[in-house]
């Protein structure tokens, strides 16, 4: 049975991707909110925000990418929830297939869909004047961080997808994730924030991740930020994966 893990995964991935290609609104909706925020902050608030860099869009884009990921993974929870509700998950579970491939197919789908949304957001950023002289290696590093963050947050999304009792519940968990970048260095530098807020902002994962991406794109030395960012991503990934798997086993056995 284990020899079929890859084929089963591929078949189920093909199914989920077909869902997305038949309702591309999931990718559009995922990109619309971050793009709207980007427009709002660049063209309305941006002029009044002093970031010490040239071009606010250059400062803002990394945070917008994090928000894109957070809104993209909400759909993973939603799709998984619908599979649970419709009974098709039971059908897959009762077939002689690798059981883990049912979850992995959803996770891989999330990676593909979120990547497309991220590309759309970056393209809009370019239209709005985002520029970076970063080389291939720096871009690869940025892609790596975004990939790892998407993977980690997708496994977080699997948990409500498996346990929610309503559609709203399945996606509600992503609201705090979308809000978290506001209390970080994503929109404004943390220097002007009052004491406790600043402490929170500087020590939560979004700041490390956003700073690392921003420095990579601006060809600045990334310092320790990138390691803190990676530790956060891997930490979230491991914890979320374990919790999701335990939840899955309990739900299905």
């Amino acid at each position: 049975m284990t020899t079929h893990v890859l084929t089963d995964n591929a078949v189920l991935l093909g199914r989920s991707l077909r869902h997305i290609s038949r309702s591309p609104d999931t990718i559009i909706t995922t990109a619309v909110t971050p793009i709207a925020m980007m427009l709002l902050f660049v063209y309305v608030f941006g002029g009044a925000i002093s970031t010490g860099t040239d071009g606010y869009v250059n400062y803002l884009l990394p945070g917008i990418l994090v928000i894109t990921i957070a809104s993209g993974i909400a759909y993973t929870a939603y799709r998984l929830f619908l599979d649970m509700q419709s009974g098709i998950l039971d059908r897959f579970q009762s077939m002689p297939i690798a059981r883990s491939s049912v979850l992995w197919a959803h996770v891989l789908t999330s990676l593909v869909a979120t990547t497309v949304s991220l590309v759309v957001v970056v393209l809009v950023g370019l239209l709005m004047g985002f520029r970076s002289g970063a080389g291939v290696l720096a871009w690869l590093a940025v892609a790596g961080i975004l990939f790892l963050l998407t993977l980690a947050l997708t496994w977080v999304a699997v948990i409500p997808g498996l346990t929610a009792t309503s559609v709203d519940g399945a996606s509600a968990f992503s609201y705090p994730l979308i809000f978290l970048p506001f209390i970080s260095s994503a929109f404004v530098p943390t220097d002007t924030m009052p004491g406790p807020v600043r402490v929170f902002a500087e020590n939560q994962p979004v700041t490390a991740i956003v700073d690392a991406i921003r420095d990579l794109l601006a060809q600045q030395p990334v310092g320790t930020d990138i390691w803190i960012a990676l530790v956060w991503c891997v930490g979230i990934l491991v914890v979320a994966y374990l919790v999701a798997m335990v939840t899955y086993r309990r739900k299905t056995a």
């Binding site: 084929t7 077909r18 009974g87 039971d90 059908r91 009762s94 077939m95 056995a253």
Partner: protein, 269 residues
């Protein structure tokens, strides 16, 4: 493995299951002979679905044992899953995919060669060829159910579990499903079905067991069950058509009429 075990497609012994405080099964025993149709009859909440989910390796029993096709569900879930197909209480079909894509999906997951041909054969058998390229979300309840059952037949599993296969269907769709189930048994598949409709058990089943308050209270053929009551008194009664007869003759498209001309469901004989 004893030969006795092999004679039964399904064997359930002393099955118990509770959800927190609620005890659903209090020691359920029954056997299903190979190639027969066995109906588990019970009202809502009697525990029928719980029995099916345990047999389908989707739920673990608290006590007791169950084998499917000679394999223990607790110790050999892999082989059990190779031996049966489940048609759950709600048509477990992918709404976004077309009917044909649903069938191809299951054929691929069962690692069969030529999934396309398998899908086309089943579409034909279940009179879904015309709707094959349409999204399932546009299907009627009866079409969904037929697709659902067709998906369960892929790979020719020796045992099929049908959990309330006709709940929520209109009379025509119900008759279509019955025809499909009968055809299955004729081709040698063992069918375990749960139902809350007495008529359904009467129509289909070789043996009927009544699950009540977590136990099987009777188990036998229809004739045996009828003998449990005092012999029928002979009364002179005018034979009235049932409402179902009226309904079906008025709407006029009894799907698999007595002539057998439109009989498309089930394996070709």
């Amino acid at each position: 493995m004893t030969t006795q075990l092999q004679d039964h497609a399904v064997r359930v012994q002393g099955l118990e299951k509770s959800y927190q405080e609620l005890t659903v099964l209090r020691g359920v025993d029954f056997d299903v002979a190979r190639g027969s149709i066995f109906a588990l009859l019970g009202s809502n909440g009697a525990g029928k679905t719980t029995v099916v989910r345990i047999l389908a390796t989707l739920l673990r029993a608290d006590a007791g044992s169950a084998t499917v096709n000679g394999f223990d569900v607790a110790t050999h879930p892999g082989q059990v899953r190779e031996s049966f197909s489940l048609t759950g209480q709600f048509a477990a079909v992918d709404e976004v995919l077309t009917g044909r894509e649903n069938l191809v999906l299951v054929a691929r997951l069962r690692h069969l060669t030529d999934p396309g041909r398998i899908a086309d054969d089943l579409l034909d058998r279940f009179s879904l060829t015309e709707a094959a390229g349409r999204k399932v979300s546009t299907y009627s309840g009866g079409m969904r159910r037929r697709l659902d059952i067709a998906m369960s037949l892929i790979g020719d599993p020796p045992v099929i579990f049908l959990d309330e296969p006709t709940t929520g269907l209109d009379p025509q769709a119900r008759i279509e499903v019955w025809q499909a189930v009968k055809a299955l048994a004729e081709s040698g598949t063992t069918v375990l079905l749960t139902t809350q409709y007495l008529q359904e058990a009467e129509q289909l089943a070789d043996r009927i067991a009544i699950l009540h308050q977590g136990r099987i209270i009777v188990n036998g053929t229809l004739a045996e069950l009828k003998q449990l009551l005092p012999p029928a008194e002979v009364e002179h009664v005018e034979k009235q058509p049932t409402l179902e007869d009226v309904f079906l003759s008025l709407v006029g498209d009894r799907p698999h009429g007595d002539t057998g001309q439109h009989r498309n469901v089930g394996p070709h004989e």
